[in-house]
């Protein structure tokens, strides 16, 4: 496959995306997070990388000590209209330092037709073992092999949601003002996702969708004005 040099606009998008993720992390839970974008042809990889491009993890602190690692990365490319960066896949994982098995992973794989956005929790479940006895399967079940669906392609958890989870449920130390930055980022994410979902609807039904969407927006504007 021949890949042309990345265009200036793509490089700018890559830089802006990496800057945004670094800003989010450094204003919530990290100091100088090693977030970088790697660009090749029309593709962008954003995540935690060393200066030589090798993958790394981002240390998180609990009560001032390094107790968790965050692994984060996004595979991106232009969307079909070359107007937005589309995420082909993303992975957010929380794991203990020096332990390969993660606590939990939040994955998104756009190409998957079934449960493209899912959570995989690593743990034990007696109930799952009991159920297994009735399935006829010869493979012992593992909790982490369950792909727990979360929000689908457009309304899946954002990295802000994962950081909030790490702070609230896992005790990761937040910086002052972390919740405000999480809320701001999540609001932008949700808005972008709604815009993308609108394009999905129009793409699926170019004739009927625009009038339906305009009617829904008009109704929403009226409802907000009335309340």
């Amino acid at each position: 496959m021949t890949m042309a040099s990345p265009d200036t606009e793509l490089l700018r998008e890559a830089e802006a995306f990496a800057d945004d993720i670094a800003d989010l992390l450094d204003r919530t839970v990290t100091v100088d997070a090693a977030v970088r974008a790697q660009v090749r042809g029309a593709r962008i990889l954003v995540g935690a990388f060393q200066p030589d491009g090798e993958a790394t993890s981002i240390p998180l602190q609990v009560r001032g000590e390094h107790r968790l690692d965050l692994r984060v990365r996004f595979q991106c490319e232009w969307d079909f209209a070359r107007r937005f960066l589309a995420i082909a896949s993303s992975e957010f994982a929380l794991k203990l330092p020096h332990v390969s098995e993660p606590l939990i992973r939040f994955d998104y794989l756009r190409s998957h037709t079934w449960s493209p956005a899912h959570v995989q929790l690593h743990g034990e479940s007696a109930a799952l073992g009991w159920l297994h006895a009735f399935t006829g399967s010869t493979k012992p079940p593992k909790v982490q092999e369950l792909h727990l669906p979360v929000g689908g392609k457009r309304l899946r958890p954002s990295v802000e949601d994962v950081l909030e989870f790490a702070i609230r449920d896992l005790g990761v130390d937040p910086h002052p003002g972390a919740q405000q930055r999480i809320d701001e980022g999540r609001t932008r994410w949700r808005r972008r996702q709604v815009m993308a979902a609108i394009r999905d609807v129009v793409k699926d039904d170019p004739e009927g969708a625009p009038s339906d969407l305009q009617a829904a927006i008009a109704q929403a504007v009226q409802d907000v004005a009335d309340n």
């Binding site: 977030v35 042809g41 092999e145």
Partner: protein, 64 residues
């Protein structure tokens, strides 16, 4: 361009790919079969993910 943006060459990415395969000590085909069957160890899984990221940049992953 910001130091936050890296532009690895195809040669660098292929070398990185070979290093990952060497660390995994298995062929690409056997890795894919093990991944599909959920039979990678946790350590192998992360290296496999790194390998797929490199292949994404190389355009060898079938995403497009």
């Amino acid at each position: 361009m910001s130091p936050r943006v890296l532009e690895p060459s195809a040669e660098e990415l292929r070398a990185r790919r070979e290093r990952l395969l060497a660390r995994l000590g298995r062929s690409r085909e056997s890795l894919e079969a093990a991944a599909d069957a959920g039979q990678l160890t946790s350590e192998e899984f992360w290296l496999w993910e790194d390998l797929r990221d490199v292949e994404f940049l190389l355009g060898d992953d079938g995403v497009a």
